[in-house]
Amino acid sequence: MNCHEEIIEYMHDYLDEDIKPEHKEVLRKHLHDCAECRDYFHEMKKAVALVQSTSHIKAPDDFTAKVMAQLPKETKTTGAKRWFKSHPFMTAAAMFIILMTGSVFSTYNQDEHFSVSKQPNLVVEGETVIVPEGETIKGNVVVQNGNIQIDGEVEEM
């Protein structure tokens, strides 16, 4: 085989897909004439094919879980951020609850505010509603959290 060293080098170049066109031609001609080198080349290609045939092994099913369990812990804020991102519905529901609670409280608070039914002729001084003298108010006058002073008249509808 020693006399064919150059040819073997070309075989490797060929298998590396890195052969010069003129060397490829030399190799082709030589393989055509020399049975010994033909066998050699065949053996080499066979070895490569056999090695290639062993590929495609799969990692165990729990591989990723095991890796994740070994990672150092992440920061809390990122965890929370991701939770919001990955649970948009829960986030929306939480927002809804917060806003609803807020509005319940604000309506509740409104009960303590001074209010009076809207009628013309009513005079409001501070938290006192005055029905002025000589005026007639039509309909009920409703006053919440305040006083009423009736100098005129209130007529039921």
Binding site: H12, L15, D16, D18, Y40, E43, M44, K46, A47, V48, L50, V51, Q52, S53, T54, S55, H56, I57, K58, A59, P60, F63, T64, K66, V67, M68, Q70, L71, P72, E74, T75, T77, T78, G79, R82
Partner: protein, 187 residues
């Protein structure tokens, strides 16, 4: 693919654990395969492949985002394997070569498209034999052969993974191929 990986890496950089899980899913088979072919032992391959991912996670800040992520990851994995092989006692190899049961476990996981059981067994034995022959290669030839023929990487990528000049990678592939030719010619 690369764009997806880059996005995941950016998420990991922001501290997002789960994005790393997706990266592991994408590369676990490749990394496990490199380790198994290098070490010839399933349990050890699994341990080292996991270790490779943990190291990648811990050192993710040192990853250059313009680089190919797989190259960086495979480099971590091959370095771990090479270190392990160098620390091992030589008589260990004999154990690894004889342990056919390991292989059975292993190859039962390969998605089989073969119908006949006898063919399957035959192929199993052949696979084991080939693995034994790969294990006989000296470590420096084994690593290039595994990366070239099992992971199907280019010479340039292999040279980046192993941090060797392309010329050296080439020479080692030639030597490895010669050795395999002699070992496998009678199969």
């Amino acid at each position: 693919m690369d764009a997806l990986i880059k996005e995941r890496i950016n998420q990991v950089l922001k501290g997002d654990h789960n994005a790393f899980g997706e990266i592991v899913e994408i590369y676990k088979d490749k990394v496990f395969q490199i380790c198994f072919r290098m070490l010839g032992n399933r349990q050890e391959a699994e341990d080292l492949a996991q270790e490779a991912f943990v190291r990648a996670y811990v050192n993710i800040r040192s990853f250059n985002i313009t680089m190919k992520f797989s190259t960086w990851l495979y480099r971590i994995a091959t370095n771990l394997c090479i270190d392990r092989l160098r620390k091992k006692k030589p008589d260990y190899y004999l154990d690894a070569e004889v342990a056919g049961t390991e292989g059975l476990n292993m190859y039962s996981q390969i998605a089989s498209d073969m119908a006949k059981p006898e063919e399957e067994v035959e192929s199993l034995e052949l696979q084991e034999t080939i693995q034994v022959e790969i294990m006989k290669l000296p470590e420096k030839y084994r690593s290039v052969i595994v990366l070239k023929y099992i992971e199907e990487l280019s010479l340039k990528e292999i040279s980046e993974i192993l941090d060797l000049p392309v010329g050296t990678v080439k020479t080692r592939i030639h030597r490895g191929r010669e050795a395999l030719r002699k070992q496998l010619r009678h199969l």
